[in-house]
Symmetry: C2
Subunit: 347 residues, 2 copies
Amino acid sequence: MRNAVTLKDVARETGVHVSTVSRALGPNAHNTLTEQVITRVRDAAARMGYVPNRLASGLRTNRTMTVGMMIPDITNPVFPPMVRGVESVLEPLGYASIIVNTDNLVEREHRLADILRERGVDGIIHAAVLRHDPRIDAIVAQGTPVVTANCSLASPDIPAVVSDDAHGIHLMLHYMYNLGHRAITHIAGPEELSSGQIRRKAFIDAAEGLGLHLPDGAIARTDRFDEAAGHRAAQHLVQAGPPFTAILCASDRLALGAIDYLRSRGIDCPAQVSVSGFNDIPMLDLIPPRLTTVRIQPFEVGRVSAQLLLQIMTDKTAACPRETVLPVSLVVRDSVTVAPDRPVSTA
Amino acid sequence: MRNAVTLKDVARETGVHVSTVSRALGPNAHNTLTEQVITRVRDAAARMGYVPNRLASGLRTNRTMTVGMMIPDITNPVFPPMVRGVESVLEPLGYASIIVNTDNLVEREHRLADILRERGVDGIIHAAVLRHDPRIDAIVAQGTPVVTANCSLASPDIPAVVSDDAHGIHLMLHYMYNLGHRAITHIAGPEELSSGQIRRKAFIDAAEGLGLHLPDGAIARTDRFDEAAGHRAAQHLVQAGPPFTAILCASDRLALGAIDYLRSRGIDCPAQVSVSGFNDIPMLDLIPPRLTTVRIQPFEVGRVSAQLLLQIMTDKTAACPRETVLPVSLVVRDSVTVAPDRPVSTA
DNA sequence: TACCATTACGCAATCGTTTTCGAAAGCGTT
DNA sequence: AACGCTTTCGAAAACGATTGCGTAATGGTA
């Protein structure tokens, strides 16, 4: 922004008024200007290396051509593809994305939301919503379009793009059931995240649908979707839970942690205990036992979210689907196999 | 930005002039305003939910409190920690980061550089520089502070924060040598990336230092740092290269691809061929054979880059180190072991 | 009381664009 | 030739914040 060439410079160069330059450079210049002037201005602008100042134009028009993305942690392999998915539709249109990591911390989320507001983002893709989130409601009320990706809010009215979590759990549980498993436990994700809660509920529903009895302690809850939490949860299941032959985990990383714990106890996966994941993060097919999991489509989630957001941003009145759910698929690998004769138990 | 409350609103509410409000909210209000006014204004601002409009202030001051990060691909596990490292220093100060993925495509890089310029970013952290990059020179010339992370430019004068690639290669080659390897090949990264070039040169230097003879075809070049490229390169080495007992790869993903190819050919790693990586991306310790690699510190690279950038942004005259190199360390795992009696060869 | 220095605040220009409004010119019609 | 319509462009007012400058008010001093 040091020696930036402005409209005024181009105007002086071409001998027309700055408003004329502005129009000439705009998309529908042909409605209002003569062909000759348009080319003259555009040539000069190109030659002089003019690049528009989005600060100024944003100030005037209330459109910054910038969107915000709130995600829990870019370090989590689920999110980079989502980011690319968003980018794939927004970047060709000239949008820039400000990416912030909330770490699922409410205070951080507030600060970061302000950082986005200050910059007047045209919209927000929120992949880190807690299920109850007054701050987001406030942002929406303020008029900024928001769509949630990979998560959905408890409060309605704001579009969500999610994977078919319930169906994924359903697929996996039935798969286990068909392999003879009857004592199946669940390592659930954080309850304040919709994915954690929905997957847990889906597990209960699917179990009920199969007529499976879920004894007390069959579900271990965690506060994070990471390996350490999975490790602890598995420990809890083995030491304090009912006997079981399989663990259906709410995420791949939880599953990795669980398998790690089992191994440390000399319990073999899948020979003694089957373990499944969710998400299908990269490189899982290289890690033994190759994890049987549910594949979601993070890139697609991002792409569709962006398209929806775009739609709302360009036409706020446009009705748009409250919830878009994307299909998931079962990825059969090695970590889930036929049920052994006797379950692992506390003894 | 719909119903945003502005300085004017706060001014009307408190009965003072908007310039007074501006000053009252600024950092050194106490130099110029009475305590009473300051608190009255600040209270009102807080109560009314005032949030400053960075577009307006940026327009006026030429500081947007926004930085740009150019990376090749956020999907590559090396970069997310780097992003977090940058964030760790910039975010607490109120900066936002616009992240763009260049995919190492020159055309994309140009467009994305413009996207950043349009928004008047205060500085750019560039982790995707090609070694020769006129566009970046132009940006620097225009007055925007730039520091390169993980890469360095052929042209000098712009600060770079890099890992000690040469030393990492040196460590690894010596480690292999001490395990008895004499026929060692190298899968190199893209030559237009500094990390690719530097690591290849370091390999040659270190080999020379050890008195190792490098026959023709001992170095396979690739055009990308990914598994597919590693796969192809390994194929090339096996089919057309000299006999060898070890492959020193310029990145973990190249190594993964190479091992995959070897396995497909029934060649065991590490029993028949040792393979090493570089970077130490996450989860490598879960994938057999557990990859012996060189650990770099991407978070630190990001952190230091951001600190440097900050320094230049706040005081453009400040001299700052042309090149900061961060230490690396050897991570010994399973994929490199003592040399077998006879090397793998074309026959 | 008059005067000067200081304090505390208001005034207004400015950053680069967009956009409404109006004016001038061109053209056809009667 | 007078009139009205369209086309093509300039003038100027915003958008919201910052800041140099001016000026009341204040306090202290002679």
